[in-house]
Symmetry: none
Subunit: 252 residues, 2 copies
Amino acid sequence: MLAAARHQIILERLLAEGAVQVSELSERFGVTPKTIREDLEKLEEKGLLRRTHGGAVASAEEAEPMLPLQIPNTKHLSEKEAIARHALRYIQPNDVIALDAGSTTLEIAKRLPNEPLTVLTNDLLIMQELIGKDRIRLVVPGGYRQRNVLIGNEALDWLNRLNVQKLFLTATGIHEKYGLTVFTGELIDLKKAYMTNAREIYCVADHTKFDRAALLTFASLDEVDVLITDAGLTDDAVRRYEGGRATLERAL
Amino acid sequence: MLAAARHQIILERLLAEGAVQVSELSERFGVTPKTIREDLEKLEEKGLLRRTHGGAVASAEEAEPMLPLQIPNTKHLSEKEAIARHALRYIQPNDVIALDAGSTTLEIAKRLPNEPLTVLTNDLLIMQELIGKDRIRLVVPGGYRQRNVLIGNEALDWLNRLNVQKLFLTATGIHEKYGLTVFTGELIDLKKAYMTNAREIYCVADHTKFDRAALLTFASLDEVDVLITDAGLTDDAVRRYEGGRATLERAL
DNA sequence: ACCTATTCGAACTTTTTCGAACGTTTTTTT
DNA sequence: AAAAAAACGTTCGAAAAAGTTCGAATAGGT
């Protein structure tokens, strides 16, 4: 068995389960634990996972949008709050908006006024946030739960009949060359469905997401209309990202 | 099980519920309480939680579970609790169950153990209740919100491909002649879809629902396997409803 | 044949997990 | 409110599991 083939399978397993074990993998591939550790080391160098004792887990940054309950979120909370406040300026009463899953979009949801508004989302925490806001029309494409997001949607064509005005999109990594990336493949179909149906696409991401690439690219930067980030983005990066089709805006 | 995986789950539980218990976690993971305490110590060092006697609470200010939800229907709560406890006896690990929208089924959801189990629901409050229970596989047919329920038959054909073992059904009225009734027509399609796909149908309803008919009939009493109600149902009514195909059970 | 990358063995170190005895806090009983 | 009981926590240390380092054997490519 080729090392590259093992790596591929390890990553797939990681996507599905969120964590892998050295012992399990060594038995699965019929190689020594030593070899698996070397595999994991190489994958960690590439930033595709994070090593732990006994195995590895999806690396913190990349797993973040899938793990809205994890603490790393609150690390950049003030930045996310600033981004959310900024994004709110684009939301008017009677809009039809889609909120992608993530902690930044959750901050947007928290600040949505209880006014006539249609919100699409697959994020359970966002739904929870909107339960009390009775004037907001909530629309949920179904699915099964992976952590706090409903994914694996069988009825995405239903989504295609909806007319979304504004999409607030999240990503694990934003990179000049690789575009918008995520770590888990299941989210991609949903993001793409939202994107093809949205008239205006706002990508919300704190500065730590920039110049990073996760495993899978789901869109190029050109497909985004507005990139909303925080003041922490370096001037150098601002210069590089300002050039594209997307307008770059830094929330105060 | 990986230590890192435990930590992750502990944190998720902590933010969903506000607090965790050592004893509960040690049983959940099959490790000694000592190990859980060491886990909690490490997480506390990172500032991710605060230790208490017997467990830990979220490090932030909120020791209370986040409950910005609407005023629940607390009418006849003790009866509903009794019915829920009774209904739980029909739920085994690895079951695939559907929880119809309602306050009685919400009581069932609250009492579901965090064990391997697949739960279908359209009730937002039930979803919220299940957010912290990571071992429960949650499946949501989509829709748009009407109060706290997702309705809309767009994804009902998807539902027809699912194989539900047990359905816990609610109704506004239960009547010998008019069968199971509700006031709003939107819920009917969903209930019917659940019913055609369920092998066993349990109708949960407190005694005040009996001998009442709401506007719209969605099923006859013969389609139900078990009728679960509380002790408040009059003997006269018991005699009348016992005769049908459905078994009548009164929760204590 | 030479170089390089992969895989693994073996001795050694670290981390994790847990048992058991002994304090401490919380709850119940009197 | 004091005493007793139960539950929880701490310390020490040991056993098991996982990781590390070093170096050697193997296989592929040039």
